[in-house]
């Protein structure tokens, strides 16, 4: 597939508006704003394309937009671009923003028009200093050329975009956590309903969309919903997709392919990660970032990387962060590392999550360090079961149990070996083995 979203990545001056305009940029804005499109027509086109959210949940984007009430009772509508990319293993939005900021800005103009938003925000994680600076400059260029601000291209439609930096908190990637944070508060997720489309930021109707999701909108408008819908494995999994692959592979990176790329092709294909480093075997793969269940080497056979393909394997596509672990990896060590992350990032509102995440970390550390008891293995599963499925305000807690529970279930002998021998089964990098 010819790259769509990453077409300009790596090209000289890919950040400048002149490069973007020379490559046909802002055609979608021109088409929609001066071509007589109604906002409803834009939404309809996005709906027809089958575009589903690229941030992790895979919710249909056009459908989300229709949840904005017809009568907003005089309240403004807000579009928030979720650029808080923090899911361990994910690095695609960083690339899109640092390399091609106008692709995102153009998409935000078109999407804002569709939901009749006049003030949009890009909530970018604090660590992306460079991305924020690139976006700030690009937004200024877009204002100067008349693609942002008052009366865009003489259409009567006006839009402001503000780049808003976070300050280090994974939970602000959760849409209501992001909303709270944008309002100048601790980023603690809200109880839903009301959903953001009805009452979001500043108590107004709000749509939160991921960077990559929004970037797709420009291409849907330019090339048509049918073109977009034809890319991908089936009508429920459409469009181009960015895959982030990291871990023990020869060529980690961001690769663009049609939605539904086979996981084994991504790992072993010449156009992608080119196989395992040192020719080692695959032990486990996390297919959708730290929040997704691990897959075993057997499970990666015939696993199309799309929402339904990975779900059929009992995991999720999430943010399409594929983390590959080789046969020398200590699974207990990996689970311990992942649980440390969630323990650190829990926002602390809900008891099962605030107490459960450090507890999991503590038990995993005990097992990893050779101090575990056999009953600890079942204890892990028991704690996990008390944390998930609606016990908490948001799904952070469900995400936090993915690695411990899936690894205990699928790699139980490794845990047992740790307990009985006080060390690792995998000759790999357990604390005790390397000490």
């Amino acid at each position: 597939m010819e790259p769509v979203l990453t077409r300009r990545v790596g090209k000289p001056d890919s950040r400048s508006i002149d490069t973007y305009l020379a490559d046909g940029g802002y055609a979608a804005v021109r088409k929609v704003l001066t071509g007589g499109w109604t906002p409803a027509q834009v939404t309809e086109e996005v709906k027809k394309s089958g575009l589903r959210g690229r941030g992790g949940a895979g919710f249909p984007t056009g459908l989300k937009w229709t949840f904005i009430p017809k009568d907003t009772k005089g309240k403004p509508v807000y579009l928030l671009c979720n650029a808080d990319e923090s899911e361990p293993g994910t690095f695609k939005d960083r690339l899109l923003m640092e390399q091609d900021p106008h692709q995102l800005i153009e998409a935000m103009v078109v999407s804002s028009y569709a939901i009749q938003c006049r003030s949009a925000f890009i909530y970018i994680r604090g660590e992306f200093y460079l991305g924020a600076r690139v976006l700030d400059e690009a937004v200024a260029e877009a204002y100067a050329k008349g693609y942002l601000g008052e009366n865009i291209l003489g259409s009567g439609y006006s839009l402001d975009i503000t780049v808003h930096r976070g300050a280090g908190a994974y939970i602000c990637g959760e849409e209501t956590g992001l909303i709270e944070s944008l309002e100048g508060k601790r980023g603690q997720p809200r109880i839903k309903p009301p959903f953001p489309a009805v009452s979001g930021v500043f108590a107004s109707p709000t749509i939160v969309n991921n960077v990559e999701t929004l970037c797709c909108v420009t291409h849907i408008i330019n090339n048509g919903a049918e073109w977009f819908a034809k890319i991908g494995r089936n009508e429920k999994n459409t469009g181009p997709k960015l895959y982030c692959i990291s871990g023990h592979v020869n060529r980690p990176g961001v690769y663009e392919a049609a939605m539904g790329l086979q996981l084994k092709d991504l790992i072993f294909g010449d156009a992608y990660a080119r196989g395992m480093k040192g020719g080692r075997k695959v032990k486990a793969v996390i297919p959708g970032g730290a929040s997704a269940n691990m897959l075993t080497a057997a499970e990666i056979e015939d696993c199309p990387l799309d929402f339904d393909g990975v779900a059929a394997k009992g995991s999720m596509l999430g943010s399409a962060a594929i983390i590959v672990m080789n046969e020398d990896t200590c699974i207990v060590d990996a689970a311990q590392n992942l649980s440390k992350f969630f323990s650190h990032e829990s926002c602390g509102q809900c008891t099962p999550c605030r107490e459960g995440t450090p507890w999991l970390y503590k038990v995993l550390t005990r097992i990893e360090e050779g101090q575990g008891r056999m009953e600890d293995i079942d204890l892990l599963a028991r704690i996990c079961n008390q944390m998930a499925n609606g016990m908490t305000i948001c799904v952070f807690s469900d995400a936090a149990i993915a690695a411990p529970l899936s690894s205990v279930t699928k790699f139980r002998p490794e845990y047992e070996h740790h307990v009985t021998h006080g060390r690792c089964l995998a000759g790999g990098r357990s604390a005790l083995v390397t000490a």
């Binding site: 403004p76 990319e85 923090s86 899911e87 361990p88 293993g89 994910t90 690095f91 939005d93 960083r94 003030s119 604090g126 660590e127 992306f128 200093y129 460079l130 402001d160 503000t162 808003h164 930096r165 976070g166 300050a167 280090g168 908190a169 994974y170 944070s181 944008l182 309002e183 100048g184 508060k185 601790r186 980023g187 500043f202 982030c244 692959i245 990291s246 871990g247 023990h248 980690p252 990176g253 961001v254 996390i286 730290a290 962060a321 983390i323 672990m325 990896t329 990996a334 590392n337 992942l338 992350f341 650190h344 990032e345 926002c347 450090p358």
Partner: protein, 172 residues
Amino acid sequence: MSHTRYRVDAAGQARKFPPEAMARIEKILTRYPTKQAALLPVLWVAQETWGWISKEAAEEVARILGLPISHVDGVLTFYTMFNLRPVGRHLLQVCTSISCHLAGADGLVEHCSKRLGIGLEETTGDGKFTLVEVECIAGCDRAPSMMVNDRYYEPMDEARLDELLGRLARES
């Protein structure tokens, strides 16, 4: 778990933003429908002005935005990137999340710690370096990844780290 994260230190002197910082704050305020929404951006201005956010700086931000100090305090202690006490000129942030972990980030932290003679969240005696671990910074394809202040250095290994630390130490 470090509890220093939940305490905002005092600088012992009142803080007033210099005029250019105040001009930035005025501009920021025009972008948001509420003053409270400007809190994170204004705290960033404070950190860029003084390098860290003291109790007095937080009080000044609260005064400008008309917010209770308790609210500003709550926000400051929620986010990890606000420095609540002075940090070294070079803030070394080593990612230890899963992809960097698989690439040996723990060894990198240990190496850094030994070379500088400081533990995590500590600063060298000359005030040049502070060492911290951070969660995933989206540099997983160039693991292990680290940042020094606002710049990425990736992929990192012990030799590159030694070279970098040497270079930074020679900077005045």
